[in-house]
Amino acid sequence: MKTNAVVKSVALAAVLGLGLPACSTDGGDKGTTDNGSQAPVESTQAAENTENIFEIEDAWVKATQDEEGHDAMTGAFGHLANTTGEDLTIVKLNSDAADLLEMHETVDGMMREIDGGFEVKAGETLVLEPGGDHFMLMEMAEDINPGDVITVTVETDNGDTQDIDFEAREFVGAQENYGNIDDEHGGHGDHGEHGHDMESEDSGDGDH
């Protein structure tokens, strides 16, 4: 319940990258549901319905470090709370920033594309985080620099779409997710894959 209040009160600012004084002790939630539509809609997907599906909190994308750019991959994170009252499944992602987008889960430190997309039941929050579920962006058009905002359009099984803005931050964690595409779909986990070692350490240590 506390989560919901926080989700709503910070959603807009987080999406716009404005930051917000959101002391979680506050209850100043007006139940607004207009955050997603604030994003300038430039998606290649003609969004027939970008009214809110999810309340968004702290949406961010890892800035890419790849000097070559074109083959860079990255992950997008945040909390997506389903406040529609219906069970939903995210079936498709689109973005101008990447030619290929996938929904990935992490199991035993191994990343793999999730079958059929992320299911988000009514009232639940999809948690996208480094080392866990995330949106994966591949075949990037350009580097994503810190402070850039990229828009990802999510499409649900009932055909609705929502544009979500992710603000880019330099981030040295979440490396396990992008290490080796060939391995990750194998999913054996029988030796120390990149992610597994990282994952067993505390993730807060990843910065230096």
Binding site: L18, H79, V127, R169
Partner: protein, 454 residues
């Protein structure tokens, strides 16, 4: 990181489990001391703490459960000292004339060559956004350690721009006074504490949240700029003295007594209004809500200062050490009488006393000081050449910080006089110096410095 861990390990652990106990102990302690007549009253806290009357008893602190970010964990924080916040958004930036905190960190950064105007705009957006979050007790975006933000304790984060930021954005907005100070004969400036393109000031009463904010700011900045220098300082723990007690520097002097307040402050710092009407300068802010910051690192030679007796120390400044009163008065805020003479006909406040040299009739020639002490480990390795008269006991001084609307019209004339003749110069050496333009504040839809990118 070690700094954060070390410092926070002292006051922090009590906060969670033993909050109420701490406060009870505090009250008992306070009562005992009051009986002895040492302290007039404990500090008054709360949102209105800045205006709390001196002598008001401390309210009992309460434990608040705070969720500082999306990991949805809970941290116990003591209210009001831990939970007190200072607004980030507003017409003026926080951290200039807002209440002084216990800990301050000043970071000078140099822009990378590749950081162009577009990159600077992105940088200021994310710095502003994360500063807004941290100062209100919330982790940043991509913050894996958001619990460290849970007790902001009046955290402020303030940004300043050096000349280079204007050169890469809107040179026409650069104030004329934004340049290095004139070279003074007393200066022994060390590049390690001088110059810089971007200033980030982080200050707060909780060393752990200050350290976290410092780190998150530097993480955000690293794609755009590199660290030129960092200066870490302190005033006095919140609650150690009644609110609004002027800080003491490490010479034991009450430091900052003559700071302007009210309308005088509006004019001196922000270039707004007429002040006391006695000013003779044409003061304007470089942008409405903007000001300037001069930061000077002043090495203080405590060991040769010790060679003076207290009377001599007081004559150097022109004030009493104990009360901070001018030698011609009784209370800290009494106006000094520069005409008063001793029976022998000598001025009571000497001709080279610091307070005489720093004043003029022109009340526009003034500044708002926000200094922090520094107390670094003494250099004991005799192979190292350490200047400034260190004797291996102390390596201390003042991070002198002054805000004023116009450096050339307000700060420089005073500094000229002090550099020319100030008794205090015998025990102090400026070893670092930088000047920054402090942009106005912003609202929730904006970011600090947006005028340079409009």
């Amino acid at each position: 990181m070690t700094e954060a861990a070390d410092t926070s390990s002292q006051p922090e652990p009590e906060k969670g489990q033993a909050g109420p106990k701490v406060s009870r102990r505090g009250l008992l302690f306070g009562a005992g001391v009051l009986g002895g007549g040492l302290i007039g009253g404990a500090a008054g806290y709360g949102v209105g703490s800045a205006t709390a009357p001196a002598g008001a008893p401390a309210p009992e602190s309460q434990v608040k459960k705070v969720t500082p970010g999306i990991a949805n964990t809970t941290v116990n924080v003591s209210a009001p000292i831990g939970t007190d916040t200072i607004d980030f958004y507003g017409k003026r930036q926080a951290g200039v004339t807002t209440p002084v905190q216990a800990h301050g960190i000043f970071m000078g950064l140099n822009l990378l060559d590749r950081t162009d105007g577009d990159a600077l705009q992105r940088m200021m957006r994310i710095l502003s956004s994360d500063a807004a979050r941290l100062t209100q007790g919330r982790g940043t975006l991509a913050d894996l350690d958001e619990e460290l933000a849970a007790a902001p304790a009046r955290l402020t984060i303030t940004f300043g721009f050096g000349e280079e930021i204007f050169a890469r954005t809107k040179p026409e907005l650069k104030p004329d006074w934004l340049k290095p100070l004139p070279k003074y004969g007393i200066d022994q400036l060390d590049p390690a504490y001088t110059g810089g393109d971007l200033l980030i000031k982080v200050a707060g009463d909780n060393p752990a949240s200050v350290a976290h904010a410092r780190r998150m700011m530097l993480k955000n900045v690293r794609a755009f700029a590199s660290v030129a220098w960092i200066q870490t300082g302190f005033t006095q723990a919140r609650g150690a003295h009644p609110e609004k007690t002027t800080m003491r520097n490490l010479f034991g002097q009450i430091d900052g007594t003559s700071n302007p307040h009210g309308e005088a402050q509006d004019r001196v710092v922000w270039g707004e209004g007429k002040g006391d009407g006695k000013g003779k300068q044409d003061l304007k802010p470089w942008l409405p809500g903007g000001t300037s910051m001069v930061i000077r690192r002043i090495a203080m030679n405590l060991d040769t200062w010790d060679e003076l007796d207290r009377n001599a120390q007081e004559e150097v400044i022109g004030r009493r050490l104990g009360s901070g009163a001018p030698l011609t008065g009784k209370d800290e805020h009494d106006a000094p009488d520069f005409d008063a003479t001793t029976e022998a006909g000598f001025p009571v406040i000497s001709d080279i006393a610091h307070i005489r040299r720093s004043r003029t009739e022109d009340t526009d020639q003034a500044m708002f000081r926000r200094a922090f002490n520094y107390d670094d480990p003494p250099v004991t390795n005799t192979d190292l050449q350490e200047p400034h008269g260190q004797t291996g006991v102390s390596h201390s001084g003042l991070i002198f910080v002054a805000f004023q609307a116009d450096v050339d019209k307000q700060f420089v004339p005073i500094q000229d006089r002090l550099a020319e003749s100030d008794h205090l110069n015998l025990w102090t050496i400026p070893v670092g110096s930088a000047v920054f333009a402090i942009p106005p504040g912003c609202d929730q839809n904006g970011y600090i410095g947006e005028d340079l990118f409009a």
